[in-house]
Symmetry: C2
Subunit: 259 residues, 2 copies
């Protein structure tokens, strides 16, 4: 990487992290949809889809996590973007994360983070290279038994996990936080919403408070690497294993197998 790349200098870029299994990039269509939406949000030229897919295939012929990063490329100092942008594209393969097997089976313990997410609607939803809030939030704990931390904004709206999206089930319906002010719209979140729609399960974006989270019968987390984690505990509040996270896991597995 050139040291003058705007990705490094300013965080002027976006990325997506996806799972490749036996050479197949899982949930590709949502990853591609979100990547192009994020590029548009930053007015960054999106890559060619076929080129990107072939690069993913080249770095990850078997099982891997692949990270694709697009930056506004090399430039001089200063905030003004060059008139002729030549984006930088980095596609790298990494080993799949090793989480305890019981997390997927029995659910995870999570904590409420102290960090309060800032509200920036112009960047909300996008997975940009400006991720210091996530870094600060993740640094709040080092207990390996805690799988994730939940984040809220200054108005007490619960938004997401440091690396995952949140769903809650209450009264036969499913809710996920509105991400119009802050947070990252995960490709897995979008797929889960779509799969639930196909199942005729009502899933609504909504402003959620801690009281909603604590009152919910079931809560779960999603991202492209973990799939779905049921939450069995948020700080002192315990949750019984619920049917909806289990159902979502089946739907994801079926969708991955069919792709």
């Amino acid at each position: 990487m050139p040291a003058l790349d705007r990705g490094l200098a300013l965080g002027d870029g976006v990325f997506r992290t996806l799972r490749v299994r036996s050479g197949r990039a899982l949930n590709w269509s949502w990853h591609w949809a979100r990547l192009t939406a994020d590029c548009e949000k930053l007015r960054l030229p999106a890559p060619d889809e076929a080129t990107l897919r072939s690069e993913v295939a080249r770095v990850a012929p078997g099982d891997a996590v692949v990270k694709a990063t697009i930056t506004r490329g090399e430039a001089g100092r200063g905030y003004a973007a060059p008139t002729a942008v030549r984006t930088t594209r980095i596609v790298s393969a990494h080993p799949p994360p090793e989480h305890p097997a019981e997390w997927a089976e029995a659910g995870v313990r999570v904590r409420r983070c102290h960090l309060v997410l800032a509200q920036q609607p112009r960047l909300a939803g996008a997975k940009t290279l400006n991720r210091l809030e996530n870094v600060l939030a993740r640094s709040e704990w080092d207990d390996p038994a805690i799988a994730e931390g939940l984040l809220a904004d200054a108005e007490g709206r619960v938004i997401e996990g440091t690396m995952s999206n949140l769903f809650i089930a209450a009264g036969g319906r499913v809710f996920t936080p509105d991400l119009g002010r802050c947070g990252v719209i995960g490709a897995q979140r979008e797929r889960v919403r779509e799969l639930l729609r196909h199942e005729k399960v009502h899933c609504e974006e909504r402003n959620l408070r801690w009281t909603d989270v604590l009152a919910a019968g079931e809560i779960f987390l999603t991202n492209s690497l973990i799939g779905v984690w049921a939450v069995r505990q948020v700080d002192e509040r315990a949750y019984a294993p619920g049917p909806i996270a289990a159902r979502v896991r089946e739907l994801i597995e079926r969708d991955d197998a069919a792709a």
Copy 2:
């Protein structure tokens, strides 16, 4: 730069931009003070001061702009920082910016930006590598006659320029925005406050509104490369050249010469 550096992956780092003239790094003490404060804010090990100074001297033996970047170094994927951090340090020299000579003499035209700064007290003041708000704000105009854009937060507090700090003079006193919620504390801003204190000019950090800016007799901008720019126009509001910006310029030049 390794592509897996956390500076690129997450914007997990800080930087400072300084002016070197005839091999002397101007305003070094404030640059160093701010850089270490920013490192502390991110719990990033600060470099050794003598080492950094010698690197600056090596890349800029004559006249130059030097940028010093400290990142949390190379790591795997994910937000959790490695327990043993090896920071990356990048020190690069660039040509001094070429602004029209009359900007320093007759003052500059600036605009009010549409972008609203998000409030994140945990990062406020620090010059981190998360600079997308500045990028978005700077992309709002391409009229070369406009020297800078001013930014406010969602509560209407005017905070800073996209690349500079703001001062306003009213009733014989000088004010500069409080940067406890957002904004970058420039090394030049801190020096100007100190120089004004030595001159027994009252200079106070305060929440300022657009009405304060428009009502002020004089406003000016500072950063380490421009020094001081008097503002002669904010959108439609014109300002007469004022004595305080001129005085601040003299104080800075004297301080630079004495260093």
